[in-house]
Structure formats: C-alpha cells, structure tokens
C-alpha cells in the first residue's frame, strides 16, 4: 500500500515532481561545481604563481661574495667555489622529490666575443634549456624553459649539447639588449676565442640576461674549462605557504614534531632536504617569491572558500524552499489521508520518503552536471581540468538528503497541524 502510494504519487504528478526534482538537481550541481572549483583552485593558482620563477637558490657554502650590478655578474669565473653538476639530479631523490618541479644551474663568466672583426665584451651564461636527465630509474627534463617561463625567445631555443658539438658551431641565445646594441639577429655567427658560435634566437627576460650571451651549460664548461662545475642552481618547488610552525628551527623540535616538520612541503624543509642530498651547499628560499606567493595564494583560496560557503548556503535554502513549496501545496492530500485514518507518522513517512527519493535522484543528476561545469571552468580558465574527488558525490548526496528532509519536515509538520475537516472543506 505504502509503495503503491509512493509510486502513484510520482506517476500522477509528473509536472510537479519534475519541477521539484529540477530544483534539487540545480542546487546540488551548484554545490558540486563550487566544492570542486574551491578545492582545486589552490593547485591551479599555485601553478600560475610558480610561473613567477624559482623559489629556492642553491649556492656553494664556501663561496666568495657575489659581485653583481644591474643583473650583470662581475665576479671572475676563477674566483669562488662551485657545485658539482653531477650531484644535481640527487634533488630528485629527496623526500619531496615530486614537489621539485624543475631546476636550472648557472655558470657565468665575462668573455670577449668577435663579430665580423668587431670585438665586444659580454657576460657568457651557461645553463640548461631543456636538459634530459636521469636519477635512478626516473628520467626527466629540466631547465630554464620550464623554471623561467617568462623568458621569451624570438627564433629557436638551442639544443642542450653533451659537450662541444662536433663539426658545427655551437648554438647560443643573444640577450635582446646586447643583440640590439651590436645589430645581431638569429642566424648570425660569432667567435669566442677560436671557436664558432651561431645565434639561434634572441632572448628577452626583462633582467640582466638581456645583456648576456646564453649558451648550453656544457658548451660554457668547455669554454671556461670548468668541467662538471656550476656556480649556482635555482629550484622551482611546489611549497606549502609558510606558517609559524614552518619557521621553527628543526633542531630544537621534539622528534615527533621534527618528523612532522620534515614531512611538510615547506620551503624550509625542502631546502634542508636538498642540503642533505648535495654536499657543501647552502639553500636559501628566495623570499621575494616564496613569502609573497603564499600570501596571494591564501587570499585567492580564502575568497573562493567563502564564496563556496555562500553558494552552498544559497543552494541549501533554494532546495529546501522548493521542497517546502511542493509539500505545502498538498495539504488536501494530507487532510484526505488523515480523515481516512492515516496516522501522522504514516503521512510524514510517505512525504519524507518521496523527498528522499527526489534528493537521491536530483543529487545524482546534479553531481553529474556540477562535475561537467567544474571541468569546463578549469578547461577554459586554466587550460587543465579540475578533477572532482569521488568523495564529493557522497558529501553532495548526504547534504541533499539532509536539506530535503529539513525543508520537507518543516512543511509536513505544518500540514499535519491543520484539522482534516477544515482542509477538506477548503477553508484553511
């Protein structure tokens, strides 16, 4: 009898049920989309902020002071200490190796270049552009192309040679200001000592590199005779914004706290792990990038969190208003059932079961629609999809049930309070 009542109610009141279902489905898709976007925004904005460059710098511990004015390194290559290049892939062996997004080593020297008999002095910078490397079984590609995505090249990026290239000039990039000063463009040839270079492209970085010649690291090592040496390395790591705990000195923490500190991807703990992996280096967080990114990130995610909460509340109100409206209109049915001898419990059970079924169906439809919307938002704005965690389905369905019950319960109570006789006569 109960099932029949339930079934008939859905069969006979198609239009009314469809509208209520629509309201529930719309509410849950709002909830799904906003939860997904709100949860995914942190990673997406973090990735955007990462494009502002490296956040850790690795330098030799025994180094002399840097002599750098206006982005031009004036320290002779013969001075100071070096890091050995073969140690660098070890960074991919630390605890937070997945958070090391990339690194780029640098070796610099002031050199004299000759173009068509005219000679000029400029900084020669050796680095990785997109160097394939391997550590253990893992192979990866790293270099300035991924670490400094704001570098723009007109022409082509040079290949990363393993050493001095055989039978052909080594390809290099010219800084844009240097190129403008000496009238160089892509395809031109240069000499350095007795060796030949070919300009493959003009690079614009907005920094000191615009006044330099950029060459693959192994070419520069060959020119300066510093095999396996680099001067400094910048690392781009995915980090958790610094909080009070991150600033604690790990040596003064209790063993349990130290483990927790070590196993959180703070810039400081990743720096410590790099120090442990590579001998004789100091690792500093580049505070300009690291400190400020955390602030921007927490503001953006905080705002999305608040908007998500507001949207959830709005969706909940909309859904319970819709449920209440459908039940309030059915007072006559309630009156009829009661006058035929149905108990309050029986009537309430019927209505709440109807509401529950609608919440389940509407929740499922809403989840599908909301997921599609979150994907679409991620794809159009960030160019990568926002994934929706399956647990969101459970959360959304439970919330839909709860909200529907709350909305229905209030309305059912109200409907039950009327005297059946009054309702049936239409006086209420």
């Amino acid at each position: 009898m109960f099932l029949r009542l339930l079934f008939e109610s859905f069969r006979r009141q198609k239009r009314r049920k469809t509208l209520a279902l629509l309201a529930v489905a719309l509410g849950t898709s709002v909830a799904t989309a906003m939860i997904a976007v709100g949860a995914g925004i942190g990673d997406k904005v973090s990735a955007e902020l990462r494009s502002s460059g490296a956040n850790l710098q690795v330098t030799p511990i025994e180094d002399t002071l840097d002599v750098n004015i206006g982005g031009v390194d004036l320290k002779p290559a013969s001075q100071g200490a070096f890091i050995s290049e073969s140690d660098l892939p070890k960074m991919k062996g630390i605890f937070w190796r997945r958070n090391i997004l990339g690194f780029a080593p640098f070796l610099t020297d002031q050199r004299t270049f000759v173009k068509d008999g005219q000679s000029f002095q400029a900084e020669l910078i050796g680095t990785y552009f997109a160097q394939p490397l391997s550590y253990g079984n893992e192979t990866f590609t790293t270099g300035v192309r991924s670490v400094n995505p704001w570098w723009k090249v007109e022409g082509a990026w040079p290949p990363d040679y393993r050493g001095w290239p055989q039978d052909e000039p080594a390809q290099v990039l010219m800084g844009s200001k240097l190129a403008a000063q000496y009238g160089l463009s892509a395809g031109d040839h240069l000499e350095i000592g007795a060796r030949k270079l070919r300009v493959s492209g003009i690079v614009n970085t907005g920094g000191g590199e615009d006044l330099a010649v950029l060459a693959p690291l192994h070419v520069v090592q060959d020119i300066t005779g510093d095999q396996n040496r680099v001067r400094r390395v910048v690392v781009s790591a995915l980090t958790k914004p610094e909080d009070a705990f991150a600033r604690r000195d790990p040596d003064k923490l209790s063993p349990a706290d130290r483990d927790r500190w070590y196993c959180s991807p703070y810039a400081n703990s990743i720096a410590l792990q790099i120090r442990e992996a590579i001998p004789n280096v100091r690792v500093e967080q580049i505070r300009q990038v690291e400190q400020n990114q955390g602030k921007v990130l927490s503001e953006v995610s905080g705002m999305m969190l608040l908007l998500t909460l507001a949207a959830l509340l709005a969706a909940a109100l909309a859904v319970s208003a819709a449920m209440a409206a459908t039940i309030l209109e059915r007072r006559q049915e309630v009156g009829l059932m009661k006058s035929l001898g149905a108990s309050n419990t029986a009537v309430a059970t019927l209505f709440l079961t109807e509401g529950g079924l609608m919440a389940l169906a509407g929740g499922a439809v809403g989840f599908a629609v909301g997921t599609a919307m979150a994907h679409r938002i991620g794809q159009t704005i960030f160019g990568s999809t926002i994934s929706v965690h399956p647990v969101v389905l459970a959360v959304v369905i439970c919330t839909a049930l709860l909200v529907t019950f709350l909305g229905s319960a209030a309305a059912v109570r109200k409907a039950l309070r009327f005297d059946p006789a009054v309702v049936l006569r239409g006086d209420a």
């Binding site: 009314r16 989309a33 002399t64 002071l65 400020n292 909309a318 938002i377 159009t380 704005i381």
Partner: protein
Amino acid sequence: MSRFRLFLRLLVKAAWVRKDRALTALVSVGVVATMATAALTVYSDLENKLSGEFRSFGANVVITSHRGALTRAEIDQIRAVVANRGVAIPVAYAIALGPNNAKVVVGGTDLRSLRDLNAWWSIRDTNPSAGGALIGARAAEQFTPTGKAFDITFGANSLQIRPQAVYVSGLEEDDSRIYLDQAAFTALTGVDPNYALVRVEGRPTDIQHAIDQLSARLPDVEVDPVRQITETEAAVVGKTRSLVLASSAVVVILIMLSMAATFTSSVLEQRKDFAVMKALGASNRAVLFLFASEAALLALAGAVPGFLAGSGLAYWIGRVNFHAAILPQPALLIPVLVGSVVLALLASTAPLRLLDEIRPAAILRGE
C-alpha cells in the same frame, strides 16, 4: 468597491492567506538576489584587492641610465608619473673593497624606503639607532659575524661601516651587498644614482600605462618592467577574476533556475483560483495581470533584503579575507531588482499560458 481596491485586496489577501507559500517564494527570490549581489560586488572590487597584494613583491619597474647619473629633472619626472600610486627610489651602486680586499657591491639609497619596498626581507636589527648601514646576510657573515664595525675602501677613501641591520633576501646577489645612506655613499664614492627602483601600484593595466608614460617622458633612459612580477600579476589577477565570474555565473544561473522552478510549481498549484476567477467572469488579461503583480510584488519584497544581505556578505568576505572592506555598489541595486522582477514574471506567467487552454469547468470539477 472600486476595481482598484478589489485588485489590491486580492493581491494582499492572496499573500496573507497563504503566508507559507509567499514565504517560500520570498526566500527563493531573496537567495538569488543575495548571491547575485555578493558575487557581483566581490567581482567588481577583486582586481583592486588582488593587485594590492602584489604590492609586496617590491619593485616592478627598473629604470637605468647608461649615460651616468639620473638627473634631478629625470628623478622628478619619475616621481611625477608614479605620484601617489607607488614609490620610486633612486639607487647608486659601486664596487668597493671590504676587509681582506674582498670585492663587495655597495649601494647608496634611502634606507628606510628600501626596507619598505623590499618588505619580504627578513631583517635582524643589530643596532636600530639612526645611521649605519644595511648589510646583506652573506656580506655580514663574511665581514662582521659579531656585528662589529668594519672598514671599506673605495679608491683612496675609506669608511667605517656600523651595521644597523642585517637582511636576508635569499638571492645571493642581494645578500652579498651593503647599502649605505645616500649621503654617506656619495661621500665615499662620488657616484650619484643611475638606477631607480620603481613600484607602481594598481591593476595590471594601470601598471602598463605607467610604464608607457615613463618611457615616453624619459627618452634617454631605459625603463624595464620586471616581467617576472608584472606577468605573474597579470596572469593571477586575470585568471582569478575569470574564475570568480564563471563560478558566480554558474551559481547565480542555477539558483535562478531553481527559484523559477519553485515559482512555476507554486503558480501551477493555484489552478483552482484561476478557474474560479474565470468562472466569475474575469478576463484572461485580468487574471494574468493579477498573478503577474503578485509575483512582481513578492520579487521586489525578496530582492531588497537580498541586496542588503548580499552587500553585507561581500563586505564580510572583504573583511575576513582581504582585511579591507568591499564596499556595497549602489549601482547594482537597480539591475538586481529589475532582474528579480523579470525573472519572477517569466516564471509565474509562463505556466499560465498552459492553463489558458484548460476550461475552468474541468479544473473546478477536479479533472
């Protein structure tokens, strides 16, 4: 009783007798108006609020003079363009010799402004009294591990450096420097500033505008945006704005539809009233007008508190998240009100067309 009074009575009584129906309609309109107001208010102020955060990244434009020092007139021009939307700090650099003849880059500038500009520096005050020098962490480690005074020489001149504070920036080149007060620096080296670190505040378009103005007014010097910072700012601010816009649009449209569904079903339930009125001789137009006015009245009554609640919500989001109020936008009031009324009219009159075809007698008999 005049027609008008009858009409008013019908309108008010309809809402009063079925208070709960009116209430659900009010709630759903109010929710839509609240969400729309809050989302649009936050969106309209977002660019300012987020751009403000990028202020702490420091200088976003560097001005370099390759023909000696920046002239007084040039510095004045820079300050005039930046005006009260940022700061411009002239800086001079020279290479001096520290103890043990180690080369060190010495900068001369206004120390107070430099510290404000580079707010991310972690500073250890060793001697906060006025005067002295700002010393990079690596330079301090090398020259004065205990914070004692030491001498630097430039040509024939020498100067005793009393460390005022030690800073850590994390960049090797920054941490290897010593900054002196401009007067002390000029006395030591005789060099005047040929760089200016400029921070232009505002939205990405404002910054670009300032850069264009600087380049136009100062043809003899180089004006370089720090692309690393300006491009990240533009990307993050732009994408966050689109995100807020897209997700608010999704929320508002879906909740609007949900509200329309509630409205429509409520009107459908009033078939009987519709039939009675028609049976009593009301024209289709009169009935439609009555239903439409009821919907419009409810929409207005829901949208006004919705607008207030939405403005409050936006203000609160600003306070909690950005530590600065997001002020209500009175200009949004009219669109929100009109939008709610139009939506309610559509949602309530569309189903009446369906009913139009049904004969009152059939409805009244319950068929």
